[in-house]
């Protein structure tokens, strides 16, 4: 049974603005670590806040377990304080006038937990997060990472069934972020809480989530496992948003582009319907180099290009190829054997081609591409 269920959820901030969230259907399973991923302004934080009850809906319904917590049609609105969730804010939102201990036990006091039990619980949570020595300090006396732990501890103390996290790592430096990511993953395993995590950082989403929901301009684009999202992007937006360096996109039917003509001819032999329409995407790591035609594997899309740049990124390299004005980027983990100015042959296995139709939707092409070409 899904833990959280959003159906037909819509949010409009009024006036003539476009919907911040439009017609969203999403279910989040019990114990899932769901990442809402998307560029800023895509509606992911709004979605999280609607789940928490901090924003009301314009249309639609939200259920938590069997309970309807929010429904415009039924006129139901359960306020945030009665939804029994936890939410960690991007700004942490620690109460500046309370000590770390009082910040942490605030929720327990509200629930009138007996003193002994409460202290035990607070001790336990503080130890788990390694903040027990700051117990009597005030939030302003702690570093960003420590504040972050307190914000987590405060919510974990009440043992919520659902934990919502709004870009909680974005204010931390790189090293701390890595550490906290591992910590979150460990907490998820330990507490078995359902977690909804909002981020614009694809790495964070990839490393943490069991399921990722990609959003753009208020619309849900794709829901799937991290591998799904990366290997089988549902549309061009997802393909371009996920992956670094970004995927190479070749428009079909661009007569001026050498690569486009090659791709068009290559696809056309398999998909007459895609001729001069749609586009293909090639992940940088999928492009291979060869000295000449003989090095190209059979049935692959291939072409000639000049190496116009080699950018070492430490352990791997980004190579820039230029083919008649069009640029292709590829990544390699082996020290490149080419030099800038060298002419090379590039090729891509049919399996690694992402094909998108005119509207940008994914077309399952790999199987068909691997069959022998029809004559035309």
């Amino acid at each position: 049974m899904p833990k959280i269920n959003l159906s037909g959820v819509e949010k409009n901030y009024g006036g003539n603005s476009a919907n911040a969230v439009a017609d969203l259907d999403l279910e989040i399973g019990d114990g899932e670590f769901m990442c809402l991923l998307g560029p800023s302004g895509c509606g992911k934080t709004t979605t999280l806040r609607m789940i928490a009850g901090l924003e009301h809906l314009t249309a639609g319904e939200i259920r938590v377990g069997p309970r309807v917590v929010d429904s415009v049609v039924e006129g139901v609105f359960v306020p945030p304080e009665r939804r029994e969730m936890g939410l960690v804010f991007q700004s942490y939102a620690l109460w500046p006038h309370l000590t770390i201990e009082r910040n942490t036990d605030f929720g327990l006091r509200l629930r009138k937990m007996p003193k002994a039990e409460r202290e035990q619980r607070v001790d336990q949570v503080m130890k788990t997060l390694g903040i027990e020595k700051y117990r009597d300090r005030y939030p302003s006396q702690l570093s960003g990472g420590q504040q972050q732990r307190v914000a987590l501890a405060r919510m974990l103390a009440v043992n919520p069934e659902v934990l919502l996290l709004d870009e909680p790592l974005s204010n931390l430096d790189a090293a701390l972020r890595l550490e906290m990511r591992a910590e979150l993953k460990r907490l998820h395993a330990e507490f078995k809480t359902t977690i909804v995590f909002v981020t614009h950082d694809q790495w964070e989403a990839m490393t943490l989530a069991t399921t990722i929901a990609v959003m753009s301009e208020g619309q849900l684009q794709q829901v799937g496992t991290p591998n799904d999202i990366y290997d089988r992007p549902a549309n061009r937006f997802v393909a371009q948003f996920v992956g670094n360096p970004p995927i190479n996109i070749v428009e079909l039917g661009d007569a001026k582009s050498e690569v486009s003509r090659l791709a068009n001819a290559y696809l056309g032999s398999h998909f007459a319907d895609l001729l001069d329409a749609g586009s293909i995407g090639i992940r940088p790591e999928a492009i291979r180099l060869a000295d000449d035609e003989r090095g190209v594997s059979e049935g692959a899309l291939s072409g000639k290009a000049e190496v116009t740049g080699i950018l070492p990124t430490g352990g791997s390299w980004i190579i820039e190829l230029t083919a008649a004005g069009e640029k292709l980027f590829l990544t390699t983990h082996q020290s490149p054997e080419v030099e800038v100015g060298e002419a090379v042959t590039w090729w891509v296995k049919p399996k690694a081609l992402h094909v998108f139709d005119k509207a940008g939707q994914r077309v399952e092409a790999a199987d068909r591409l691997m069959r022998p070409a029809k004559l035309h």
Binding site: E27, T58, A59, G75, P80, R82, R111, L220
Partner: protein, 626 residues
């Protein structure tokens, strides 16, 4: 506007979203009625909106209704004027408007006071720009000696009531034109001419001294924020000092200078005490004193027209200021990054510059306060013999005077006035401080946006209306019983209400700023943790806002204690506050006693501001209204 149709139109060019269907059947789109029911449920779930509605009603009554009532007075035949106008009481008439703007006496009623107001304001602006601008530059961009000390000391004139200076001036320069004790110059045998003793010149000089801290603060801040790198870039590109000053510095400083000018003008417009003390002897009227005279001679209709005119000028001025501030904000983003502030060495001019700052301090603080104090311990003005000094005016008994036969500190009238001041200003400040925080809370939190907008605007309205015009509006509404509300004129309640309304712009701005700065997060975190509205208020919002609430009460208190224009219209002898009491003493020529009371007020205002600075660790001078 139907959602789905709009969405599909928008997304047709983009990839259509992939949906993970929940298996349940699609929900029908909510009807209008359902949406409304849901929104009402969300809005009324918490008391925020209800508090907002109540506050909106309260402010409509305390702020909007008096102004409307006054404006309608200007258009209706007033009691006692029926025969002259040949219409019945309450009928619509152009009589008062005609009288103020067009009739034969319009010159004395309006046009001459207007010209006087404008010329005094213009003079004060020019003088304070010269003095304040120089001081601001010396303080913020040079290596003058004692800059830190001067930075605080030169703001002091603004913390004192403006007419402190007026009384000091009369103490020095009063001549035989009016009765009572002569000034010091007169009593040592030199008779100052009228143009030096009264009227335009002294009023202009005093207002300039009083408001130059404005320039020091506003212009000084802009100068401090100014990034030296902007200057350097121009120099590196080959511009000489003059070009840099005219092409880079001045254009960037213009908004702050203009803003200081406009604010000084607005303050001069409502200034009553100084022209009253120094203008009356030579019939030098400004708009505020003309209004006061019409009100005290019960010319309600004419008074209403005058108050409306002052209000209109005030509104225009503040609108201009708002424009300028918007322009200024556009500039702020420039160079805010690596804000480097380099000091120019003054070299040989370092001593003279310090001397100039010191002189200004002596002229604007030392001299007036010293003069006033000396005058209260001297029997005959200006004679520095040891036997001329006495403490009788402070603590004496059985003095040989008609009234006030004891020293001022032993007079029950003083303590009565002091108690009234504390009580009225105290209650009003605490009330408006709390109301301000509530307004801030509602504005920041209510889901009903128009309510927040209305509250913000209505509480700002009194800022546009000079105090004396606002007092006239109160008089118009509350002088007679209306409905269930009895006539409030002569009670302390009307003073409190008027003061609350008058302080709301500052209080609500402080409250809105505090609540906006706090943001929603801490409160929402408590909400998520399970705290209901009341609990969040008592254990999160109010404890966090303790500091700003203190400031929000203290600031209006200080400006209320030294305020005059509101009280002078609304107070009667039994509800005298310190300021009106001292003005009454001036009218009766009890010079020493009047000066003593003014010193007490100045002391209260100054030490109050100091205390506030200590408590909040900020520079309160910047927030001080008048």
């Amino acid at each position: 506007m139907s959602g789905p149709a709009q969405t599909s139109a928008q997304t047709s060019a983009k990839p259509a979203p992939v949906r993970r269907n929940s298996g349940t059947s699609r929900l029908a789109a909510p009807t209008r009625g359902q949406r409304l029911r849901y929104r009402m449920k969300v809005a009324l779930r918490e008391p925020t909106t209800i508090i907002g509605v109540l506050a909106a009603a309260l402010f409509a009554y305390l702020i909007v209704v008096p102004i409307i009532s006054m404006l309608s007075d200007a258009m209706r035949v007033q009691f006692g004027d029926e025969r002259r106008i040949k219409q019945d009481v309450g009928e619509l008439t152009w009589y008062y408007i005609d009288r103020v703007f067009l009739s034969r006496i319009s010159h004395d009623l309006f046009w001459e006071p207007l010209v006087n107001t404008l010329s005094v304001a213009a003079g004060a602006i020019v003088l304070s720009m010269l003095v304040g601008g120089t001081l601001a530059w010396l303080l913020s961009r040079t290596d003058m000696f004692g800059r830190r000390w001067f930075a605080t000391a030169l703001i002091v004139p603004y913390m004192l009531p403006a007419w402190t200076f007026a009384l000091a001036w009369t103490t020095l320069f009063k001549n035989r034109t009016v009765g009572g004790q002569p000034g010091w110059l007169e009593s040592i045998g030199f008779s100052p001419p009228d143009w030096l003793s009264y009227g335009q010149l002294p009023v202009t000089i005093i207002l300039a001294l009083h408001y130059s801290p404005f320039v020091i603060l506003l212009f000084g801040n802009a100068l401090r924020r100014f990034d030296s790198q902007l200057e350097d870039s121009a120099r590196i590109l080959g511009a000489n000092r003059l070009t840099v000053a005219s092409k880079i510095i001045m254009p960037l400083m213009r908004p702050s200078l203009m803003s200081a000018m406009v604010l000084i003008f607005a303050k001069c417009l409502g200034e009553f005490g100084v022209p009253y003390v120094l203008g009356l002897p030579v019939n030098f009227d400004v708009l505020a004193t003309s209004l006061y005279q019409n009100i005290s001679s019960r010319q309600v209709g004419v008074g209403a027209v005058l108050a409306g005119a002052i209000m209109l000028i005030g509104i225009i001025t503040i609108t201009i200021d708002a424009r300028l501030m918007r322009e200024a904000r556009r500039f702020v983003t420039i160079g805010s990054k690596g804000s480097m502030n380099r000091l120019s060495p003054l070299g040989i001019l370092r001593m003279p510059a310090t001397g100039f700052a010191a002189l200004m301090f002596v002229l604007s603080v030392g001299l007036p306060i010293g003069t006033l104090f000396l005058s209260t311990i001297m029997r005959v003005p200006g004679q520095f013999n040891l036997d001329n000094f006495t403490l009788d005016y402070w603590i004496g008994t059985n003095l040989n005077t008609v009234a006030l036969q004891t020293g001022i500190l032993l007079s029950p009238d003083l303590w009565n006035a002091a108690w009234n001041s504390l009580r009225i200003v105290g209650v009003a400040s605490i009330t408006s401080g709390i109301l301000g925080l509530l307004v801030g809370y509602v504005v920041a939190r209510t889901p009903v946006k128009p309510l927040g907008t209305f509250l913000r605007q209505v509480t700002f309205l009194p800022y546009l209306v000079p105090g004396i015009a606002f007092a006239a509006a109160y008089l118009s509404l509350f002088a007679v019983p209306r409905g269930p509300i009895p006539a409030l004129y002569g009670t302390t309640l009307i003073l409190m209400l008027a003061l609350i309304a008058d302080q709301m712009p500052y209080a609500s701005r402080a409250g809105i700023a505090a609540m906006t700065q706090l943001g929603k997060d801490p409160e929402e975190a408590a909400q998520i943790a399970g705290a209901g509205w009341f609990r969040r208020m008592t254990s999160i919002v109010i404890p966090i806002q303790k500091g700003s609430l203190t400031t929000g009460i203290l600031l209006p208190f200080i400006s209320g204690i030294k305020g005059l224009s509101l009280f002078v219209v609304l107070a009667v002898p039994s509800t005298d506050v310190l300021t009106t009491y001292s003005l009454r003493l001036v009218d009766y020529h009890y010079t020493q006693a009047a000066n003593a009371v003014v010193l007490i007020i100045a002391g209260l205002a100054y030490f109050g501001a100091l205390l506030g600075q200590k408590l909040t660790k900020t520079n309160l001078a910047q927030g001080l209204g008048n």
